[in-house]
């Protein structure tokens, strides 16, 4: 008997680039559905919140279709939810991007802008565009997490000006250094996961993270 395909539901709220993450999951032989339907999101097996763009627009687009509540309803019973890039940031309590905006508050903490380069640390630019390393944090082992099987110092592809700062350091799985900034590049709290980089654009090693998500 053929094994049942893993089902991934990707939230389509109008924020850009769904194609690559959908194709990546399809290549991993998942059954991917793209939707903005409340019930399909609230009742999904595994949920993916992608996104590029500004925090305020992202939240407004979610709210316009009541999808913020669909995601919160989904999260009430423990099921895997992954936010990528802006999707990760939307999981947080609030963001300082273009003012002060309220997020989904599934992870307590803030979204902050990189510190600007200054005289003592000038050799970086904002946004961060390019490859950077995932570094192990002291307290959290990667075995059994979304980063199972990923080597310390692995390169991932980042594209952002803001980063998440969770209140509880225990949810921070990996840190990444950028100029004078050290920020949380992967977070995991039970079944809720956030990646600041784009695993679907980070070569084979990025796909490994998506495979781990499927296995959750």
């Amino acid at each position: 008997m053929p094994s049942k395909k893993d089902k991934i539901t990707v939230i389509d709220y109008g924020m850009g680039n769904l194609f690559n993450v959908v194709r990546a999951f399809e290549a991993l032989e998942c059954d991917v559905s793209i939707t903005n339907n409340y019930n399909k999101i609230a009742n999904a097996d595994k949920l993916l919140l992608p996104g590029v763009g500004a925090f305020e627009d992202g939240m407004n687009d979610l709210k316009a279709s009541n999808l913020d509540n669909a995601i919160i309803e989904f999260s009430l019973c423990e099921r895997p939810l992954m936010g990528i890039c802006l999707g990760m940031q939307l999981l947080m309590s609030r963001s300082e991007e273009n003012g002060n905006h309220i997020g989904l508050n599934l992870i307590e903490g803030d979204v902050l802008r990189f510190k600007e380069p200054n005289e003592s640390s000038s050799n970086y630019k904002i946004p961060q565009i390019g490859w950077n390393k995932l570094l192990k944090t002291k307290s959290n082992p990667w075995a059994g997490s979304i980063l199972e099987g990923i080597d310390n110092n692995s390169y991932m592809y980042f594209l952002h000006s803001y980063y998440v700062h969770p209140k509880d350091a225990k949810v921070v799985l990996s840190g990444t250094d950028y100029g004078q900034n050290t920020f949380c590049s992967v977070l995991q709290k039970n079944q809720i996961i956030g990646c600041q980089f784009h695993p679907e654009r980070s070569g084979e090693i990025g796909l490994k993270i998506l495979k781990n998500f499927i296995k959750l």
């Binding site: 690559n20 630019k125 390019g130 490859w131 592809y157 594209l159 952002h160 100029g179 070569g203």
Partner: protein
């Protein structure tokens, strides 16, 4: 210091990868997906696609190529050419582009950058700037670019750089340095800087141009046009490039030699793959329009990265 990215550039005409000289006289080299997959496996950090005619003929045939390529490579793809509206950007992003670069439309209608950055985020909006050194002084103002009449950054002088549009076919009378600051104010998250004078020559990057734009830019600058030797990558990074884009030096390494009358001008005129058309034969027959000094010493992405690493420039290596 953030890692320096190496970004192969694929110039697209119709279904093919082409390579020209000073944005003219294309030779057909093969199919984009073949090149893209090869460069992905070799360790390219991103890919840059330039549709060579989209802007000129107001059409966009790149969507299907991007769709097929993005399926096969898991690194970011930036697409330039033919973007005239927010809907065009959306269509490219939906096809698999990670970033969209804008040149002509940005100059005729600068607010497109502002609107696009607001809608899609600065990080995926790249300002493409095609620079050409002015070899004359002129008070001429270009009627096509009305928005700039009262701007202080029109009319670059002799020796300064002018922004060109429509893939190196149209001068604008707009000073590159000032324009490069303006696009960042408008919200571009990155600049893709090419040199019409150096494109395809292999003579090295224009260090004056690069240092003028890159060292004064708040956002990352990808520098293109002129890579002919491995050492050129180091030089352009020392001039301030945040990322380096190159075509001929990589294309000619992987393309295969094709024995035909019109391809025999140089022993290294090569192609990749078998499905090819003729390219610009007239241009080749006339000896590349009188330009005979193409100085490209083909190399691989790996060799370039190893060389940079040995010279203490941080790169991502496999």
């Amino acid at each position: 210091m953030s890692l320096v990215r190496i970004i192969p550039r694929l110039d697209i005409k119709g279904p093919n990868v082409v390579k020209g000289l000073c944005f003219d006289g294309y030779r057909v080299l093969g199919h984009p997906e073949t090149f893209a997959q090869t460069y992905f496996k070799e360790g390219a950090d991103e890919l840059f696609f330039q549709d060579t005619v989209a802007s000129l003929y107001k059409r966009n045939n790149l969507l299907e190529i991007i769709r097929r390529t993005a399926e096969k490579v898991q690194i970011p793809i930036t697409v330039c050419g033919g973007v005239r509206s927010l809907d065009d950007i959306k269509a490219l992003l939906r096809s698999g582009a990670d970033k969209v670069a804008i040149n002509t439309a940005a100059i005729t209608n600068p607010s497109i950058i502002e609107k696009a950055a607001k809608m899609f985020g600065s990080q995926c909006i790249v300002a493409s700037i095609e620079a050409k050194e002015r070899d004359f002084d002129s008070e001429q103002r270009y009627k096509n670019y009305k928005g700039f009449e009262n701007s202080e950054f029109i009319n670059p002088k002799h020796g300064q750089y002018e922004a060109w549009v429509d893939y190196g076919r149209q001068p604008t009378g707009i000073d590159v340095f000032e324009w490069s600051k303006q696009v960042v104010e408008l919200g571009a998250g990155e600049i893709y800087l090419s040199s019409v004078d150096r494109d395809g020559t292999g003579h090295g990057f224009d260090s004056n141009l690069v240092s003028e734009v890159a060292s004064n830019s708040k956002v990352p600058v990808i520098c293109s046009s002129g890579a002919g030797k491995v050492v050129h990558f180091k030089e352009v990074i020392e001039s301030g490039a945040d990322a380096v884009s190159a075509a001929s030096i990589f294309h000619y390494k992987y393309a295969e030699k094709v024995e035909t009358d019109y391809m025999s001008y140089s022993k290294e005129q090569l192609r990749m793959g078998s499905q090819i058309d003729s390219g610009n034969i007239e241009f080749l027959k006339s000896g590349y329009g009188g330009f005979e000094q193409i100085q490209v010493d083909p190399s691989t992405i790996n060799k370039v990265k190893n060389y940079l690493y040995e010279n203490e420039i941080e790169v991502r290596r496999n």
